[in-house]
């Protein structure tokens, strides 16, 4: 049965290009790792900006940096963390893990996926290049008009924002489309939706949210670009334009964005905690449904970012109620995690578990200040102060970055085949946890003192000095903690202990293959009859459920039905190709070229057309009718 030539043929057709040719690689694990590494580089860069800002604010009337530099730094910190770290890193992790968790050989459209990565990379380089040239966006990541309009920001700074942000959203959107289709079409036979790992549920919710949230952002960025470049009047008050239009469209995207980042992180917590609690999660269905509810509700909250701008009491109260309602599905997840630990017979306190558990505490604090901000009069008091900064850092760092780092410790063995150092991992956690709380709990306090956000300096008698110095101390401890993890990654890549297939004795399919997995992921497409297949294995070791072979003439994986995952087709999957890069560069020419001269728009369009023709040119296999 164990046909060696089948394995060899599989290896040959799925071979990942090496050397210079690796630029053409499309395998989801290659692209996933590229996404993750690139996103973490941006995370470090944006973190350095944050430290410098805190340093600037550690004394009144400090002169470490000018207001121009500070305004670019805080804009780039937010923009980078949101668009270049948080979304790409969760998408990267999803791109890496989802096919493995589903028992698939690859995503369904690997070339599209590869195209998305190059778009993200190109956009990120342009945005950061502008910072090094001293002309980065400087009107905040929220980029409110009229400040960001042609009259008050005549420089190139905001043009970088409008073009690069719209451009990069293409990457987020193609990854989301890709993930939705993959999740619906290539789940392992038997993996009905009700058996799908919770992380995959989270990715599904995230992807749908991206599909609904990002187009309005692209649209409004294009409106603003048009105002700035060709003199249209979408936001020009003098000509009947409306600055609040920008805010509505931006926050229609901006609020779901928080959950786009947080929901996959919840999914990681829901994956890590059961593994180390040695039992299935308590309330699987409740947790899955909670994520869906969060995804839907999050589109009904955006006005709570605008309470101080709007004056319709009844209208605002509805948005306040919706904002408070989200406490329920969030609370349900928190108590599902605690309940899982509580009901466990044996908890193993390995590093990933520590990060996941720490995240529960931090996310709870951020979750409790959330309804406070939804309470309109209190919102009027603390809106645009450090209190809000504290709130969303608890949600986004506590609720998302901590699980992501937990996930890094958890899946690093699968990705590299080596374990990360436990001792360093725990040191890193406790330093980060302590530093984070010192730094960001303090910000609640400075907010109550009356310190607005986005100040590059403050007066001597305002009482902000001491708390900001405490903040600086906390930020340095946090940075040290994260640096320990960085060092741990680098050291473990070389010297980490061999991981084996399933070092944590985890229940999901990615742990059934070798670490790192072969290019084709699984020798046989696995068959599943439980939501924790590796824990419940053994009940069906007869030959018929060993798994499905796939064809080896070209890349293919097994297509199954959307709800019950019944095998229905052999899905052809694309080979390595240079065209995704060519298309990314061409579309990049349209967007980035428009910064220099509008003549690049038609040039880029023609290049894109050529790239698309090349992309779709029938290959040998298709010409033979395969």
């Amino acid at each position: 049965m164990n046909d060696p030539s089948y394995e060899e043929r599989l290896q040959k057709v799925w071979q990942i290009p090496r050397g210079l040719a690796s630029i053409t690689a499309v395998n989801h694990r290659v692209i996933g790792v590229r996404y993750i590494v690139t996103a973490f580089i941006f995370f470090i860069l944006a973190g350095v900006l944050a430290l410098m800002m805190v340093l600037q604010l550690s004394g009144d009337n400090n002169n470490l940096m000018t207001h121009e530099t500070y305004n670019q730094f805080f804009t780039m910190h937010g923009t980078t963390m949101m668009f270049l770290f948080a979304v790409p890193v969760v998408e990267g992790i999803a791109i890496y893990l989802v096919p493995l968790m589903l028992g698939s050989r690859d995503l369904v459209f690997p070339r599209l996926n590869t195209f998305g990565y190059f778009v993200f990379l190109l956009g990120g380089i342009v945005v950061w290049g502008s910072l090094f040239l001293g002309s980065a966006p400087d009107a905040g990541w929220f980029n409110y008009v009229p400040l960001a309009g042609p009259d008050y920001s005549p420089g190139i700074n905001i043009d970088i924002y409008t073009t690069a942000i719209s451009f990069m959203e293409i990457a987020a959107l193609v990854a989301a489309v890709e993930l939705v289709i993959t999740i619906f079409k290539v789940r392992a036979p038997g993996m009905s939706l009700s058996r799908m790992p919770l992380f995959v549920w989270a990715v599904l919710v995230m992807s749908f949210m991206i599909i609904f949230a990002f187009p309005p952002l692209v649209l409004t960025s294009i409106f603003l670009a048009a105002d700035r470049m060709i003199g249209s009047h979408f936001f020009n008050v003098a000509m009947g334009g409306n600055p609040l239009l920008w805010q509505h469209l931006f926050w229609w995207f901006g609020h779901p964005e928080v959950y786009i980042i947080a929901v996959p992180a919840f999914g990681m917590v829901s994956t890590i905690i059961p593994t180390f609690s040695r039992r299935p999660i308590v309330g699987y269905l409740i947790v899955a449904v909670s994520m869906v509810i969060i995804g839907v509700l999050s589109f009904g909250l955006w006005v709570h970012h605008m309470f101080s701008a709007d004056a319709s009491i009844l209208g605002m109260s509805l948005f306040a109620a919706a904002s408070m309602a989200i406490a329920l599905p969030s609370g349900a997840q928190v108590f599902a995690w605690i309940g899982t630990i509580w009901d466990s017979e044996r908890v193993e306190w390995r590093t990933p578990m520590l990060w996941a558990t720490g995240s529960i505490v931090l996310f709870t604090i951020g979750g409790l200040t959330g309804p406070m901000l939804a309470a309109i009069p209190w919102n009027w008091q603390v809106h645009d102060t450090h209190f809000v900064t504290a709130h969303f850092h608890y949600v986004l760092v506590g609720g998302a970055v901590f699980p992501i780092i937990g996930g890094l410790y958890y899946w690093f063995p699968k990705i590299t085949g080596r374990m990360m150092n436990e001792k360093l991992g725990k040191w890193s956690f406790w330093l980060s946890f302590t530093g984070f709380n010192i730094a960001f709990f303090t910000l609640h306090y400075t907010g109550l003192l009356g310190m607005p956000r986005r100040l590059h300096t403050y007066l001597a008698d305002q009482g902000f000095d001491l708390p900001m110095q405490i903040m600086l101390a906390g930020a340095l401890i946090l940075a040290a903690g994260l640096a320990v993890t960085l060092w741990n990654v680098i050291a473990s890549l070389r010297r980490g202990a061999a991981a084996g297939d399933n070092p944590w004795n985890a229940p999901t399919l990615e742990w059934s293959t070798s670490s790192p997995p072969p290019a084709y992921n699984f020798l046989y497409i696995p068959v599943v009859d439980s939501s924790n297949p590796l824990w419940d294995a053994g009940s069906h070791d007869d030959e018929s459920t060993r798994g499905y072979q796939t064809g080896t003439d070209h890349r293919e994986t097994l297509g199954t039905t959307a709800l019950d995952a019944v095998p229905e087709q052999r899905l052809a999957v694309a080979r390595p190709s240079i065209w995704p890069l060519a298309l990314a560069a061409s579309v990049g020419t349209v967007f980035m070229g428009s910064l220099i001269d509008l003549v690049f728009v038609p040039i880029g369009a023609v290049m894109s057309f050529i790239a698309l023709v090349g992309w779709n040119w029938p290959g040998k296999q298709r010409r033979k009718g395969l």
Binding site: I286, A320, P329, G331, W342, W378, W380, P467
Partner: protein
């Protein structure tokens, strides 16, 4: 195992310390929670109410987590439990639903109270957000009176504010008196404040508005009602047009000669510009440039010569003046009180 338990206790003690640290900075005034007017007072009540609602949830999460962790360290696997679903039902549905209903009710009650003052405001003051200062206007009388960065009000009664901006979005905020309200270009918005006692209350722009967002302070100065009326009467007086032989005549001439009047108004003289702050009673103000500098001779001279050094990006150009001209202008401006 006891070694392990101790270590956990130590870690949690660390958490508690880290949460307590901000209390050490407690020497400053917590403006949002030290209300000096009815609106801010109701809002502060809302804060204490929601804090009371939130704390039990935080404690429940931490205590249940600690108990769950502790239990495993003691009874390694001997007492499996089955409480998880109940935790979700109580902690994730019933209790938060009750808490949110309570919060919503308290919020709506607060909202009704702070949206409009109990008593109708008799005085209405115009507040315009500028780049990066505040133009304050009092109507009534023969012509409106403008000042900058200081809102004088009578204590003990509500005052209506007409908020507007003709440039970017600013946000009006005096934490001790009320929450904040954005000033959206293209629409003017009615807001109100009330200070119960005479005093000086700090305000600041809260919406990022560009280069000098950080230096856009203002003061609300509440007087006894009769003092307020005499202040306003005094502000209504135009400056005296000086004639040759008067004390600051040279200053007035140089002020005019240097073109100051194309941006600034000194009522009663030919200076009638509206780009910059009205200077008719500059000498009576405590600060320059929206709280950037205190209003003393040295600062005023330095500001006139090169304001960009103190507030880069502001609209006032550096002035090329001879020392004697500067001295004369400064003296003239200080005399406008």
């Amino acid at each position: 195992m006891s070694h392990r338990i101790n270590r956990w206790r130590y870690y949690w003690a660390l958490l508690v310390v880290s949460l307590a640290v901000p209390g050490l900075g407690g020497c400053a005034e917590v403006l949002s929670l030290q209300p000096k007017g009815p609106a801010a007072e109701r809002i502060a009540d809302l804060w204490w109410f929601q804090l009371l609602l939130a704390l039990p949830f935080f404690l429940a999460v931490v205590i249940l987590l600690l108990l769950a962790i502790r239990r495993h360290n003691r009874n390694n696997g001997r007492h499996p439990r089955n409480h998880g679903i109940q935790m979700i039902i109580w902690g994730g549905a019933i209790l938060p639903a009750v808490a949110m209903l309570a919060l919503m009710s308290f919020m709506i009650a607060t909202l009704v109270d702070v949206t409009e003052p109990v008593k109708r405001a008799e005085l209405s003051i115009g507040v315009e957000g500028k780049l990066w200062w505040w133009r304050i206007g009092y109507s009534g009388g023969e012509e409106p009176v403008f000042t900058a960065n200081e809102i004088h009000i009578p204590a003990g009664e509500p005052v209506a504010l007409e908020l507007s901006s003709d440039n970017v979005i600013h946000s009006f905020w005096v934490p001790e008196l009320h929450g904040k309200r954005d000033m959206i270009p293209g629409s003017s918005d009615r807001f109100w404040i009330q200070a119960d006692q005479p005093g000086v209350y700090h305000g600041q722009c809260a919406e990022f508005c560009g280069a000098q967002h950080a230096r856009m302070h203002f003061l609300v100065i509440a007087h006894e009602p009769e003092d307020f009326l005499s202040w306003l009467e005094q502000q209504r007086l135009p400056a005296r047009l000086l004639e040759e032989g008067d004390g600051n005549f040279d200053g007035q001439q140089h002020f005019s000669g240097a073109g100051c009047g194309s941006c600034h108004t000194v009522r009663g003289t030919e200076a009638s510009g509206t780009l910059g702050p009205d200077l008719t009673h500059l000498g009576s103000r405590s600060a320059l440039a929206a709280g950037t500098l205190s209003n003393v001779t040295g600062n005023l001279s330095a500001w006139i010569i090169d304001s960009q050094q103190f507030k880069p990006g502001n609209l006032m150009p550096p002035m090329a003046l001879q020392p004697d001209e500067l001295l004369a202008i400064t003296g003239y401006l200080e005399s406008l009180s």
